[in-house]
C-alpha cells in the first residue's frame, strides 16, 4: 500500500473521528448536525479515494466516485430533512443562538394542517 493511500485513509478516519467528537461535544442538535454532516462527507470521500488509490483499478475507481457523489448528494438532504423535522417537533435551540430564521414556520404549518380538513369537509 502506497504512502498516498495510507495518508488518505488516516485523513478520512480522522475526519470521521472529528465528526463523532463534534456530535458529543456540541451544545445543540442543529450545531451537532452541521458539524457532523460536513466532516462525514469529507471523511468518507477521503476513505473512498484512498481505496481507489490503493487498488488502482478502473472499476473500483468508478465505484469510489459513485460513493463520493452519493455522499455529496445525500448528506445535505438528510441533514436538512432531519433538522426541519426537529425544528417542527420543537427541539430547543442553544441559548446563545441569535438568529432564528424559521421562527413561526411551525405555526404556519400548523395553520395549514388545521385548515386543510375544513376545506375537505366542505367538498
Amino acid at each position: 500500500m502506497s504512502f498516498i493511500a495510507s495518508a488518505l485513509l488516516l485523513t478520512g478516519c480522522a475526519f470521521l473521528l472529528l465528526a463523532a467528537i463534534g456530535l458529543v461535544r456540541m451544545p445543540d442538535l442543529y450545531i451537532r448536525m452541521s458539524s457532523s454532516s460536513k466532516a462525514v462527507t469529507l471523511g468518507v470521500s477521503c476513505l473512498a479515494v484512498g481505496l481507489a488509490v490503493s487498488m488502482s483499478d478502473a472499476t473500483v475507481t468508478t465505484r469510489a466516485i459513485l460513493l463520493i457523489v452519493l455522499f455529496f448528494l445525500k448528506a445535505p438532504v438528510a441533514a436538512h430533512m432531519l433538522g426541519r423535522a426537529a425544528y417542527l417537533t420543537g427541539v430547543p435551540l442553544w441559548k446563545a443562538t441569535t438568529i432564528d430564521e424559521m421562527k413561526g414556520a411551525g405555526d404556519s404549518l400548523e395553520q395549514l394542517r388545521n385548515t386543510t380538513p375544513a376545506g375537505s369537509e366542505s367538498d
Partner: protein, 86 residues
Amino acid sequence: MTVIGLCFAILCLALLLAFVRLVQGPSVADRVVALDLMAIVSVGLIIVHGVATSLPVFLDAAIILALVTFAGTIAFAKYLERRRPQ
C-alpha cells in the same frame, strides 16, 4: 499494515463516541443523528476492511449500506414530522 490497524482503532473510537450520543441524546432527533453517524462510520469500517483485504466487493457493500442509511434517515425524519400533532 499498522496503518490499517490505526484506522480501525480510530473508527472504533468514533463509533463509541457516537454511541455515547445515542444513549444520552435528549431528543429523538439526537438519537437519529447519532444512528446516522454510526452507520456512516460503519461504511468507513467496510471501506478500510476492503483496503485491508484488497477485495473490491466491499466497496459495493459500502455503497449499499450508505443508500439504506439514507432511506432510513429520510423515513425517520418523515415519521418525526408526521407524529408531531398530539
